[in-house]
Subunit: 291 residues, 2 copies
């Protein structure tokens, strides 16, 4: 259960225009996460553009990341349209040495709760690895109610949930709701701009996009929040203030690619149809980086 | 341009649990569409579960459908997460004899208008086939504004748009808006329960789910509406009244699979994670079939 605790940092997955993982660049990014103090590497999350990668390339990405760390565990996203595909990706990730799995209910046709339950049961049962439920209504059109999460939490390998910031903005109430529903589950949040508050409220894990490039600053924030040091947490969060504004304005993915290019960590571009950041935003990004 | 006129009937794509197209069953379904008077076969639409099929299986589906018709054109869905994949599917479909293409802006990360434009430009330019824009905000999280459609309509091979029923419920006003924006474009609708009104209002094409199993009844409705015979159109639409209620209640896809099983046209089940219809709905469906 310590796997889904603290800072889980999500790197981009640098790839060629043809969709091949650029292993040296990914290695460099993952090494940076371990050096910066991330508690886990959140590989192949939405930031890692997992839905744009083939089976072979996902496997290569996991192998590369596992090979790049000495002790930091790698959590691998295994979401897919088909249940059998997601099971295959889970087995592949286990075979390559991932420490845990992350699963979103990816869909084209919106899914019912029973369909999501059977899907999670099938994928969680495909390996012995602990699995984190990935709630991302903005991309999957599926909302996890706390009563439904209670049902999922009874599946033996399901160990955690990664929640979006609540629409109510009251993350403490949201956390309390899920804690009541699923007492043994690790509960963490994504949506970087609200994660200071989530961690101060007692969340277990920060699933962080910015942490995928700026692990040290994110680890400092995580540590301060987890020991209940409000003042220091605010100070650490303030470093990211301009970046959070941009995240909320245009989404984090395109910004992280541009930032990785600026930091000369990779020349990789987003997979098409995704396009890079327009020039005006690039200029704003330069002065928003927490460096 | 007559390709995207009249009744475009969308069959399911029967497949094995492992995702292989069951060619004899697909052939039977497509033959039924031609015999029933469909103006085109809308292969690999949402009803055809295209996002659950591999490249090879999509190609086999197109080849099977094209081989099953004598004169009815086959429109093939080519949507994919990656632009290069969608281009490949478009070329494959052209190579197998499809007469036109259908493209939705499938995404995981929500797309910007510029990203959708570049994606459509790339896929529309990959072949000489006329292409129909597939607007399906419920699955793609992207809404086509009429001003944006005007921009897309300038791409030489873009010939049509398949619209959802408008939230306003005023399909005549919606149609007029898109006509003004893109005068040369074929404008059609999906959302079977509102398509009588759309066709009576002067839409060019009914992209029909129910027509994929009940082409004759749908063709009768289409013909009556296109010649402006309100009374006969109402009579033809009334045959479907109970089915439309179920479509609106639980979505059409699971119902069409159950109906195809009931009619003994195929034993195929939906690809997991999608599940079949529960027993109570099955019983309601039996009495809702327009037979």
């Amino acid at each position: 259960m310590t796997l889904f605790v603290g800072l889980s940092a999500f790197p981009i997955t640098p790839m060629t225009p043809a969709g091949e993982v650029i292993a040296p660049d990914l290695r460099r990014l993952v090494e940076r996460l371990e050096a910066g103090g991330a508690d886990s590497v959140g590989l192949l999350g939405s930031t890692g553009t997992y839905m744009f990668l083939s089976r072979d390339e996902r496997r290569r990405a996991v192998a590369t990341a596992v090979g790049a760390v000495t002790s930091t565990p790698v959590i691998a996203g295994v979401g897919a349209m088909r249940t059998d595909e997601a099971q295959t990706f889970a087995r592949d990730a286990a075979g390559e040495g991932a420490a845990g799995l992350l699963l979103a209910p990816v869909s084209y046709t919106p899914l019912t709760e029973e369909e999501v339950f059977q899907h999670f049961l099938a994928v969680a049962s495909a390996t012995d690895l602990p699995l984190c439920i990935y709630s991302n209504p903005g991309t999957t059109n599926f909302t996890f109610r706390s009563s439904f999460v209670a049902r999922l939490a009874a599946i033996p390998t399901i160990a955690a949930i990664k929640l979006p910031l609540p629409a109510s903005r009251d993350v403490a109430a949201d956390l309390a709701d899920f804690r009541r529903a699923a007492p043994g589950l690790s509960i963490g949040y994504s949506g970087d701009w609200g994660c200071k508050d989530a961690m101060l409220a007692g969340a277990d894990c920060w699933y962080s996009v910015a942490g995928g490039l700026f692990p040290q600053q994110a680890a400092d924030l995580t540590a301060a929040a987890m020991r209940g040091d409000h003042e220091e947490a605010e100070r650490c969060d303030a470093v990211f203030a301009e970046l959070w504004k941009l995240f909320r304005k245009v989404g984090s993915l395109r910004l992280m690619y541009a930032a990785a290019n600026m930091l000369e960590l990779t020349d990789a571009q987003l997979p098409k149809p995704l396009l890079g950041l327009e020039q005006g935003l690039r200029e704003r990004l330069v002065s928003a980086l927490p460096v």
